[in-house]
């Protein structure tokens, strides 16, 4: 009995905060645009009884999904989002891993301070932190003035309003999400394993490659998911730092919802995005489970 209650809590949570909103979005994605409040039809009219429910379901169709396939804008935006998120995740990993490694190898008494420093930026609003990059990267900004001041460049670099700025923004914003899981994996690692590897004739580099990396694999995977998934649908960073040719699905969604007022198509875009994200994650988890069972 107590167990059932314990299990019911997370399930209810998921049901109320994930499944119900998803069903609402799915339902809107099957509706048609209308100039009304709210701006789509059909509306479920329970006063009509069964006839109303039947009329409601008869009004739903997959037209909006067919529409998405007729315009190459959507596929290009999805692909471009996956590419931007992928490159940004890789960069975050390359920056985040050494930091996490350094933290995990730091003297015990420093670690809480270092952890604090990683988390500290969260105390400022995300929006302000992204906005401040405009001041750093713009052509009259701090970075260009510094580089020109020391004579490294003669002309200001154009970084703001390009994809490079988007990568910088994503790496900066999501870095803690990469560092923390890797740090917690590395911190638990038993250092005597490295000593053993070196005793057995392994160089320090190959010990790192053959022992440390595989042992921190779970942290790397968790970190990559935590960075990749939110950045694929990112809207704030590309709209503040990106150029007008930065094509991301978050911006396309915004335009469908706000400029076209086409909630049904916007919902269809969101449903497809969810599928694109969920299918690889499910496949990945399955292969992980298979690997674990095979290893046993």
């Amino acid at each position: 009995m107590r167990r059932a209650v314990l299990i019911a809590v997370p399930y209810l949570w998921l049901l109320a905060l994930f499944l119900v909103p998803f069903i609402i979005v799915l339902k809107i994605s099957l509706s048609d645009i209308a100039l009304a409040r709210p701006p789509y039809t059909p509306q479920l009219d329970l006063n009509e009884g069964w006839a109303g429910i039947r009329a409601f379901f008869a009004g739903l169709d997959f037209e909006n999904f067919t529409f998405l396939s007729t315009d190459d804008l959507y596929w290009k935006a999805y692909l471009s989002s996956v590419r931007i998120a992928g490159i940004a995740t890789l960069c975050t990993l390359l920056v985040g891993y050494p930091i996490a490694y350094g933290m995990a190898r730091a003297p015990q008494e420093w670690r809480p301070t270092l952890l604090m420093l990683v988390i500290l930026p969260f105390w400022t609003s995300f929006l302000i932190r992204v906005y401040s990059w405009i001041g750093i990267l713009s052509s009259e900004g701090v970075l260009n003035q510094f580089l020109m001041g020391i004579g490294l460049i003669g002309e200001p670099l154009t970084i703001l309003n390009t994809n490079t700025a988007v990568y910088i923004g994503i790496v900066y914003t999501y870095l803690p999400f990469m560092i923390l899981p890797i740090y917690s994996a590395l911190e638990k690692m038993d250092e005597s394993l490295l000593e053993a590897a070196e005793d057995l004739g392994s160089s320090r580099f190959s010990a790192f490659w053959l022992v440390t990396i595989p042992l921190s694999r779970n942290g790397i995977v968790a970190g990559c998911f935590l960075v990749f998934i939110p950045s694929i649908g990112e809207f704030v960073i590309p709209s503040l730092l990106g150029g007008s040719d930065t094509l991301m699905i978050g911006k396309v969604l915004w335009e469908e919802f706000f400029s076209n007022r086409d909630w049904p198509v916007a919902s269809a875009v969101a449903v497809v995005l969810l599928l694109i994200l969920i299918i690889p994650i499910v496949l990945f988890q399955r292969s992980e489970e298979n690997a674990r069972e095979a290893g046993r």
Partner: protein, 361 residues
């Protein structure tokens, strides 16, 4: 304890949109009023005023279409207002509760009647034009003393845009402003709803696309004021704000606003009462307060936008009523055009065309 409970109950009631009768909730554009007026309203009427701000018509429209916003007064722009009236988002004004409506200026009410026939649902708050914000020194340095700074030629001619590109050109991220401007430049009807005519806007905008640094509807204020860019297509009052910020910073940047010679788009921000406003009585009181000549003049003197109130004009500061960038001459007013909202199918064509212009896709 009882007090806490009362507070909690009160906030719950608020959350449910059942605001207590003595509150008036207003949703207006950011930086768009003299805030001392808000206090004055509370003192004169005894209502408690809750004043929130937004910065895009699209955000307001989404709240209106979703319903249950909890606001008593909102301020959409004309084209958006018209569509929201059709969607049933607003209630008709009870003009018996608006004695100050006689103060309104027929020159403006005649034009707003295009969006709101008979002005039954709304009153004009402010109006302005869309035009060119120019960093005069830099532009003349690049294009010479006779640079066409008051003409769309300045950026719609690719050879000019190319020269200005390094200095920086910003464009409003608003297809409903930029496409009519391009059509007007071509000599087409700027208010055309014919997809084939609208597609012609490409002829103007695609060739200059490589020279546009950014499409954005508010960043240009700072960018102009700091001297980061040379030209921005922007809204009159915003460019004037940039002009004042540059003058305050004393950074040697001189900004000018020009309504294009070819004709400028004129727009109107209208105050209206949502159909589900919790306190329509208070909403009418607020509209009547705003239409008071001295109050309206105070607002315009503060934000540097023109208003639709004839009686207010005698209280306007000289640098407002006397500035042709704010109150254009009668001849300049004749050289303006207005637009009407696109139907959904055409809207999709417009948004798609705009995405193509912005992203090349």
């Amino acid at each position: 304890m009882t007090k806490t409970l009362v507070t909690i109950t009160a906030s719950l009631a608020l959350a449910a949109g059942m605001a207590a009768a003595e509150e008036v909730r207003v949703y207006n554009w950011s930086d768009y009023i003299d805030e001392s007026l808000l206090e004055k309203f509370e003192q004169e009427t005894g209502y408690e005023l809750i004043y929130d701000v937004f910065d895009s018509n699209e955000v307001l429209e989404t709240k209106m279409l979703a319903g249950g916003s909890g606001y008593d007064v909102v301020v959409p722009t004309g084209t958006f207002l018209q569509r929201q009236i059709t969607a049933g988002a607003f209630q008709k004004l009870d003009k018996s509760k608006l004695p100050n409506i006689d103060n309104m200026w027929d020159v403006i009410s005649d034009r707003t009647a295009k969006y709101d026939p008979g002005n039954e649902y709304s009153i004009n708050y402010m109006w302005g034009t869309t035009g060119l914000g120019v960093n005069e020194g830099k532009v003349k340095e690049i294009l010479g003393e006779d640079a066409p700074i008051s003409s769309w030629d300045l950026i719609f001619k690719p050879e000019n845009a190319e020269k200005l590109a390094d200095c920086g050109i910003h464009m409003l991220d608003a297809p409903a402003e930029m496409i009519p401007a391009a059509l007007n430049y071509l000599g087409e009807d700027p208010d055309s709803h014919d997809p084939d005519v609208i597609a012609r806007a490409e002829e103007v905008l695609l060739p200059i696309r490589p020279y546009i640094q950014k499409f954005h509807s508010s960043e240009y204020i700072n960018a102009l004021a700091n001297g980061d860019i040379c030209v921005a297509v922007g809204w009159s009052g915003d460019v004037l704000q940039a002009r004042d910020r540059a003058a305050e910073a004393d950074n040697g940047v001189v900004i000018g606003y020009y309504a294009p010679d070819e004709g400028a788009q004129m727009w109107f921000d209208q105050m209206a009462i949502p159909v589900d406003a919790p306190n329509p009585e208070g909403a009418h009181a607020f509209l009547n307060f705003i239409m008071d000549a001295q109050n309206m003049a105070a607002a315009s003197n503060y934000v540097y936008y023109a208003n639709g109130n004839k009686a207010a004009q005698e209280y306007l500061a000289e640098d407002v009523i006397g500035d042709p960038a704010i109150y254009p001459s009668a001849a300049a007013l004749d050289n303006t055009f207005t637009t009407t909202p696109f139907p959904p199918r055409v809207q999709r064509t417009v948004t798609r065309l705009w995405t193509k212009i912005k992203s090349g896709t």
